[in-house]
Symmetry: C2
Subunit: 419 residues, 2 copies
């Protein structure tokens, strides 16, 4: 596993696509029975695509194998959403994000397991590579586990609640949820359009940046921690944080102080902000009512009761609450940007704790939903370990569209934590 190369290493070695793909497929063959990260994988077809890539011009991501969460459309593989409603291979155009990466020479290796419709309902069968009886988190379960276990260097994911950052924290990998709107959602399953965000996983900060290069016209940058102003946002939910999360924040804080950073507590006034997780939930479920209407009227009992309940809840009073939630969210976005603009980065928990035991639940998104609602970029930095040996991450965030700055600070902090 340690020997599996990152995307940056594959490119530096000038590997051909067939070599890179073969290495991934061998690793998957050895590990998939245990990890169960893949919803669809056709090794022969993937190798054929790799051969075609090697015969053409070399793009910026030549031959980099990528796992695609199975709620994102691919022209050459089915998309099934972990739903019995879509039980036949579908053909379609590529989702926008897939088309962009493919145009740069990346190889879409297969589709990764997901919670039903990247929402709620049937869970992925995927296991946490660090402890197979623990969840990898969800809904991007397969993408996170595949990257953590060395099946692919990069995997695409989506977040509406905490579906990118939480699995990254549980699986001990790098994950980015970019600013809402930075990457087009076209061709990814719609759940809550004002929240849905496409992002990705990697085993290094450089690899996150390599993919960001395709979407963000601002150039990559580096960051210095000496003298940097770092805000710690414990959020209104700090009382819920378990020992591993408290330790991760404390360890990161101490490492930052040792590196010469200036640390301040970021005040999100409790009386105004304590409601933010509930407001996020409200928006997510209300928008889900429109998103899942088609599956509800066409899929009948094939759609999980959790999503049918969202459709049934489209009442006048709930819509009035939705409008109020939109207006609150907009005010919070503005306030947080102003606040975060005064720091080089904001440090905040990624998850309540390390990955819980069992696969029946994918963990809590309490520390993620608020940032999804705020539209701000979040990077999970791995490197901390719970008492039971499982990984737990911390989140670096900042104002909307400060993705490059947030990622640069996260990279510097990650180097500290692993150093």
């Amino acid at each position: 596993m340690d020997a599996m190369p990152t995307a940056t290493e594959i490119l530096a070695a000038n590997n051909d696509a067939v070599t890179a793909a073969t290495r991934c497929l061998d690793r998957i063959a050895a590990r998939e029975e245990a990890v169960r990260a893949w919803a669809y994988l056709d090794p022969a077809a993937a190798l054929k695509t790799a051969v075609a890539l090697d015969a053409g011009p070399r793009g910026a991501l030549h031959g980099v194998p990528i796992g695609v969460k199975d709620v994102i459309l691919t022209r050459d593989m089915p998309t099934r959403y972990n739903s019995p409603i879509h039980d036949e291979p579908a053909t379609s155009a590529d989702a926008g994000c897939v088309a962009v990466l493919r145009a740069a020479g990346a190889l879409m290796l297969g589709k990764t397991e997901t919670v039903e419709f990247a929402a709620t309902g049937t869970k992925a069968p995927t296991r946490n590579p660090h402890a197979l009886d623990h969840t990898p988190g969800g809904s991007s379960s397969g993408s996170a586990a595949a990257v953590a276990d060395g099946h692919v260097p990069i995997a695409l994911a989506t977040q509406t609640g905490g579906s990118i950052i939480r699995p990254a924290s549980y699986c001990g990998i790098w994950g980015i949820k970019p600013t809402w709107g930075l990457v087009s959602n076209e061709g990814a399953k719609s759940f809550a359009p004002s929240l849905d965000t496409i992002g990705w996983y990697a085993r290094s900060a450089d690899d996150l940046s390599l993919i960001l290069d395709r979407f963000d016209p601002e150039p990559a940058r580096s960051a210095t921690l000496a003298g940097a102003r770092i805000g710690i946002a414990r959020t209104p939910y700090w009382a819920e944080a378990g020992p591993a999360t408290r330790d991760a924040i404390a360890r990161t804080e101490q490492a930052l102080r040792n590196a010469g950073a200036v640390i301040e507590e970021v005040a999100l006034p409790d009386d105004e902000w304590s409601d933010i997780a509930r407001v996020h939930d409200l928006v997510m479920h209300a928008e889900g009512g429109a998103a899942f209407l088609a599956a509800d009227v066409t899929g009948g009992d094939g759609l999980h009761a959790n999503m049918r309940a969202m459709v049934s809840a489209r009442t006048a009073s709930n819509r009035q609450r939705l409008v109020e939630a939109y207006d609150k969210a907009a005010a919070w976005r503005r306030a947080f940007d102003a606040l975060a603009g005064g720091y080089d980065a904001i440090l905040t928990p990624s998850t309540v704790a390390e990955a819980p035991r069992g696969l029946a639940a994918t963990g809590d998104y309490l520390f993620n939903g608020m940032w999804t609602l705020l539209h701000v970029p979040c990077v999970n930095v791995p490197g901390c370990i719970a008492a039971n040996g499982l990984p737990v991450g911390v989140t670096i965030t900042g104002p909307r569209f400060a993705d490059r700055r947030v990622l640069a600070m996260a990279a510097a902090i990650g180097a500290l934590l692993s150093g």
Copy 2:
């Protein structure tokens, strides 16, 4: 043309799908050469689908023929976006809105002409049925002309700037742009996700309501004009309104007074609101930069320069302006809802004037973009006529999610204007 039935009439007559489809196909055969509303139409395949519908249970929209704007995915017809990038028949799952209507027994008859990607660039070849040397408006050119000319009773459309309401005004038909988020955009081309809205055209207010029944859980209602409080929002752009638009507003105002409504001018303070069309444009073009990235990197010169320019304009300074625009828009939404909540309906222009001559330009969306930005429901009410004999509409609007109320008031006003 006058003899072509509305959807409500088709359902009341208990028509079978084959009869309804045949009548539409005959009308199209006689008129398409002049109007050019259809991007894709396979009469034999449509009739086969109608036969299958008649063999099954009768849904609430049994056999109602619907035209689908060619930026909305259909499982049984290609989607080409009026773009050379998509020159092959694509197969895909139905867009959410199509799946919902199909599940109710509606017949997707064909795909209607659109401006390239429902955005900007190559125009539809469609002509205004009221004067073939005039534009029907855009970007939903084919859907509006097809309904106006009796090809289909209903057609699906999309609006990001003014692409539903403007063609409705120019073609003298009913059109609704629902509240943003009421109808899922899944499977429709993404241009600016915080603005993109699916709506539809019809030749009666009852028909608009019949389709709204599938998406809005609130029941249809009727409205009384006697004693109703109607606000007239001339908007900061009233000085741009031409004679036909001024006459249409004046005639509607007088008819409302005669019916016993109470009329007030709605104050959108010029110093605060004069910027709203520019802010709408800014959001639309900035979000378009992300939406068209995939077409830009894969389609090369096949993508119109207007959209390539949006991709190139994704700079840090433009993103800062975008964030400021988001925050302004959010404040305006809240302010307008509070204002509009004090009225039974808001009356405002649909277009600067009647349809301009020529097909090279599709007219001005000056009076539409602000309402798209505000996310509020808009209904175009036909019934007024310019000095040159061309139709011009007026818009009825109201707070977010007041779609049923707005449509009921629009129906009552439409009855006045045609009475």
